[in-house]
């Protein structure tokens, strides 16, 4: 039961990650690409946290409290390393969103389109 559930969760997250990459590859609107990129990032973050999860009950967050002993804390708390990595990844992902959105807006101001196919034609026209 437990292994089936774990496999189901992991595979759904991987499927979601591939869905995100598929969306980035096939949709042509730049804003839509940014939305799909975020869905992919969410799935990867969740997968990271899932790697740090422990199958013990009850499971504690990695924050030491006074009313539990240190030995119990060590045997029940989840792995804090993936959480620390994902925490910065979430904020930096938002900063990257700001940068990408800014460039999309600026491209729209200059050329009047946010479609990747039109974009390719415009850039080709500038070259030749």
């Amino acid at each position: 039961m437990i292994s089936f559930l774990l496999a189901y969760i992991t595979l759904t997250l991987f499927a979601m990650m591939f869905l995100g990459i598929y969306g980035v590859a096939t949709r042509s609107n730049l804003i839509k690409k940014i939305i799909m990129l975020n869905i992919m990032g969410d799935a990867i973050n969740m997968l990271f946290i899932l790697i740090g999860y422990r199958l013990v009950f009850p499971v504690f967050p990695p924050i030491y409290e006074k009313h539990i002993t240190f030995r119990e804390f060590l045997s029940r708390a989840v792995d804090p390393v993936p959480q620390a990595l994902v925490l910065t990844a979430v904020v930096i992902g938002m900063a990257m969103n700001i940068l990408l959105t800014t460039y999309a807006i600026q491209f729209y101001r200059l050329h009047g389109t946010v479609d990747a196919r039109d974009m390719a034609e415009i850039l080709r026209g500038e070259d030749g």
Partner: protein, 85 residues
């Protein structure tokens, strides 16, 4: 009892997958954004189940608040509808 956590997590992740698929299929960008923020809400619940309170605090504020506002601003400055094939 750990099965209960995993079952809730499986439900949450399935809903997240369904909503992200709907967001990919949607041609109205505002609706796609709304669907993707529903998916974010489910994922925040998932982070809570996975015993990560730090991530929940950062993720809820960013993925449901700031990111949605940013994309709404971007849509208002560019086009609302995605041009199909």
């Amino acid at each position: 009892m750990i099965e209960l956590h995993l079952i809730i997590l499986a439900i949450v992740v399935s809903f997240g997958f369904v909503f992200s698929y709907l967001a990919m299929k949607e041609h109205d960008l505002l609706k796609a954004l709304a669907l993707s923020s529903v998916q974010s809400t489910f994922f925040a619940l998932g982070f809570y189940i996975l015993a990560a309170p730090d991530i929940v605090l950062a993720y809820l504020a960013i993925a449901v608040g700031a990111y949605t506002a940013l994309i709404i601003l971007a849509i208002s400055k560019t086009e609302r509808y995605e041009v199909g094939e």
